[in-house]
């Protein structure tokens, strides 16, 4: 049984088409991934790429948020938050890595194609790539990171971290430079990068869209990492990469916060999906495994049941928070003290909670399953690696909390 049915959520603005989409994605997962896992494990070429092609192209998710006028499906309003969440839950349940790529791609696109963000020129130019391609079109982001102790003199800092690239105007174009930058995902095969730059005469950070085939964009060899096999990641370097001025997606801290809010919502949904998968694994274990000799089912032992109960409890509460957050995106006015500008704080808070809870839940599930917890065959360890990888890409909790302190206590110097 689809475990997402066990955990209550408010029906609110969810409609039939959302349920239909979720069902479609559930079937996609069973056909393209679940049934092939044992044979192909995390094989990128044999398993993940074909599944992504189905998802991005055949199920048309990469067209979803582009305006109909540009060939998309036209789900480009804040009201689709619930749709996004329900879809990303299902994708995350099947494969966190694919869910993550989709989440980042949708985040990048939303900054271009959502009604209230809409950059008409960019939309017209970029939409066809997403809407007409018969291959997955992946977006990626390059965000600020710790500076290294040998950082170049031109580096600009944003809230203590280094902006990855420097842009300057050159007539109608922008010239961008950045060395060995690590994208959130897919450094090897992303079609578009949103690169956060410093730009002359601009105070805050500026997000610039850099097509993956831009001359001067160099992709390193892929590097080995903990999880997210679907993300074929590598560092990239921009050497005097030239893009039109119109490729500026936004500038300034508020816009960045707003984009990150959507990113956090999407990631929360993907993480939620991975929790459904974990719940299903541990439920099956509880139904079939014995403990302390024959006839004693795992789910009937008070200790193992208590840990399993805590897993259900944590997942249930996380889902309630996720949908509460989605509802804030849809209608900030119906929340006291929430405006569009400060969605960032609840979004950061919810995504941090859900990913931290997911880490705890997965750790507990693994404990219950002993060696089966770390055997590839049982899949659990994959969700654990994937989720942790997603979590670290959200940035360090210790430093993210500085943003929360600014909100709650009006701290000025952090």
């Amino acid at each position: 049984m689809d475990s997402s049915k066990i955990f209550p959520f408010p029906l609110g603005s969810v409609d039939d088409s959302d349920f239909l989409l979720a069902q479609t994605l559930y079937r996609w997962a069973e056909t393209e991934l679940v049934s092939k896992r044992l044979e192909f494990r995390e094989d990128y070429v044999k398993l993940l790429l074909p599944a992504m092609k189905k998802l991005f192209v055949d199920v048309e998710l990469q067209k979803m948020t582009w305006p109909e006028s540009c060939g998309g499906i036209g789900l480009n309003r804040r009201e689709i938050a619930h749709t996004l969440v329900m879809a990303l839950e299902q994708v995350g349940r099947a494969d966190c890595g694919i869910g993550y790529l989709l989440a980042v791609t949708l985040t990048l696109c939303s900054s271009i194609n959502f009604e209230y963000n809409r950059k008409e020129d960019l939309c017209q130019r970029i939409a066809p790539f997403f809407c007409q391609s018969d291959q997955p079109v992946i977006g990626s982001l390059v965000l600020p990171s710790y500076a290294m102790d040998n950082y170049p003199a031109v580096t600009t800092f944003f809230r203590g971290k280094a902006l990855p690239a420097v842009a300057r105007y050159d007539n109608d174009n922008l010239v961008i430079n950045g060395q060995e930058m690590r994208p959130l995902n897919s450094g090897r095969d992303a079609s578009f990068f949103g690169v956060l730059c410093s730009l002359e005469a601009e105070d805050g950070p500026v997000l610039i869209l850099v097509p993956g085939d831009s001359p001067g964009l160099i992709r390193d060899e892929p590097f080995l990492k903990t999880g997210l096999a679907a993300s074929n990641n590598a560092d990239i370097t921009l050497n005097d990469v030239i893009v039109p001025r119109e490729n500026i997606i936004f500038s300034g801290e508020d816009c960045l916060s707003h984009m990150l809010s959507w990113f956090y919502l999407n990631i929360s949904a993907v993480s939620m999906g991975s929790l459904f998968a974990v719940f299903e694994i541990i439920r099956e274990w509880g139904d079939t495994r014995v403990i302390k000799g024959k006839g004693n089912l795992f789910k009937e032992n008070p200790l193992t049941a208590s840990v399993m109960a805590e897993i259900g409890h944590d997942i249930m509460l996380s889902r309630l928070l996720l949908y509460q957050l989605a509802a804030m995106f849809i209608s900030p006015d119906s929340y006291s003290h929430i405006e569009r500008e400060n969605l960032y704080v609840p979004a950061l808070s919810v995504v941090s909670h859900i990913t931290q809870t997911a880490e705890k839940v997965m750790n507990q599930a693994m404990e219950l399953m002993g060696s089966a917890g770390y055997a590839t065959e049982w899949n659990l360890e994959r969700y654990w690696r994937d989720l942790k990888t997603i979590q670290v890409h959200l940035g360090s909790w210790e430093l993210n909390k500085m943003d929360l302190a600014r909100y709650f206590y009006n701290s000025q110097k952090l």
Binding site: Y151, A162, L224, T226, R289, N363, M366, E367, G370, M402
Partner: protein, 422 residues
């Protein structure tokens, strides 16, 4: 700047061979393992990269010989008063480089404990098996075949189960045992094992402790089959597989200690298993400390090394605090095993229960700490080039084996609260 050697150890517990062999193993680690370990995960089936490191450590440096008596080519550690404290240091150093190697190395001693340690040294079996380990420059692996398909670590839940769920049988046929059964998960299986210690029963379903048997089975005996290695989240150097025993015939005297004593001293094996687990955690965490020192010095936030941010420093403090404590506890437990005249027999319920408690403590702390420092390193935390995520994966495995946390909790509560039904 403080180094890993500045973490506290009870100075009075340190074995005479500690310093000398500690240094040798550290050199081996720095030269033979650390430069290559990032590629170990892809080497899990072949062990092309991993095997030379094993041969060097166990065969050439000779560490696979340490438990055997000196006159049989060993180092006599099994009858010394510092078996545990010396092993702790060695396993710590190996685990600093790779806990998979540490496990494979440590588990090779696991069945040998039954025959090499005083007061239950089995001279005849020592003579029988010493040549296998002592007359070679190649790594030779031994394994304990315990876990079975049904119920997993229930085998280890001995106080309540008393061996009654063991389905692997040993039947006497003249002067031979005939062994039949199917085991899962032994470290050092998957084809690398040369000598199994097999947990079996001489009367299936029996709760009579005299029926619990621990019998040695050389892996090249007819009827022994090791399956293919399982793929797992980490510890590529530790091969695990199914093992089948199909009418395997071994001499009667291959039983380690005999009726009653097999059960009794098998609990000493559990004690050493917990000691080893703590040492693996400790060694891995010391390398985590090294990685973090480097990371926090070279990565900057607001223009200063990350470690100068108070909130980050608190996480660093939590890590080193736990390393301190785990290391002290580990050496204290080693001392408890080394000084039964002060602390009671190594196989007593008390010592076993306390070992379980320390083991799950160490694992829980380490899992939480590594999760936090991995998060602190942001994308660097999941980058294999940093080596941090490797330890994160490996330590989780240490937490899960040997019955995992819940069995540890039950054994701890049972002893301290005198529970009857747990």
């Amino acid at each position: 700047m403080p180094s890993i050697d500045d973490f506290t150890r009870p100075k009075e517990y340190i074995s005479p061979i500690d310093d000398y062999f500690g240094k040798i193993v550290r050199q081996w680690a720095d030269k033979e393992v650390i430069p290559y370990r990032q590629r170990y995960d892809e080497d899990w089936q072949e062990h092309r990269l991993i095997e030379p490191a094993f041969d060097k450590l166990m065969g050439e440096l000779g560490l696979q010989r340490v438990l055997f008596p000196e006159d049989l080519g060993g180092w006599g550690l099994g009858h010394s008063h510092y078996t545990a404290s010396a092993s702790f240091r060695l396993m710590e150093e190996v685990a600093r480089a790779d806990s998979g190697i540490a496990v494979a190395f440590g588990v090779t001693f696991w069945p040998l404990i039954m025959i090499c340690n005083e007061p239950h040294l089995n001279r005849r079996l020592c003579e029988e098996f010493a040549p296998l380990f002592c007359n070679t420059n190649k790594a030779v692996f031994a394994a304990n075949a315990m876990t079975e398909p049904q119920g997993g670590a229930d085998i280890e839940n001995m106080e309540i189960i008393k061996g009654s769920t063991i389905e692997t049988t040993a039947v006497l046929d003249g002067d031979d045992w005939i062994i039949n059964g199917h085991k899962l998960w032994p470290t050092n299986s998957g084809g690398v094992c040369s000598l199994f210690g097999v947990v079996c029963t001489t009367r299936p379903g029996s709760k009579d402790l005299n029926d619990f048997a621990f019998i040695f089975v050389p892996a090249d005996r007819p009827g022994v089959t090791q399956g293919n290695s399982y793929q797992k989240a980490g510890m590529a150097a530790d091969k695990n597989s199914d093992v089948w025993f199909d009418h395997v015939r071994v001499p009667k005297y291959y039983r380690a200690c005999g009726p009653g004593d097999d059960y009794k001293y098998f609990k000493e094996v559990i004690s050493f298993g917990n000691l080893g687990s703590i040492a693996f955690v400790c060694g891995a965490m010391m390398n985590v400390f090294e990685i973090l020192q480097n990371f926090c010095n070279s990565n900057l936030y607001r223009g200063l090394p990350v470690k100068e941010h108070d909130a980050v420093a608190a996480v660093l403090a939590d890590l080193v605090k736990d390393i301190e404590i785990i290391r002290i506890i580990g050496y204290q437990y080693a001392r408890m095993l080394d000084r039964p005249e002060l602390y009671g027999p190594r196989w007593s319920d008390e010592i076993v229960a306390k070992g379980r408690a320390y083991k799950y403590f160490a694992c829980d702390r380490a899992v939480e700490d590594l999760g936090r420092v991995m998060n602190l390193m942001e994308s660097g935390g999941s980058d294999r080039a940093r080596d941090l995520e490797k330890h994160w994966r490996d330590i989780k495995i240490v937490q899960l084996w040997m019955g995992g946390k819940q069995l540890c909790q039950m054994e701890t509560a049972r002893w301290f609260f005198d529970c009857k039904t747990l």
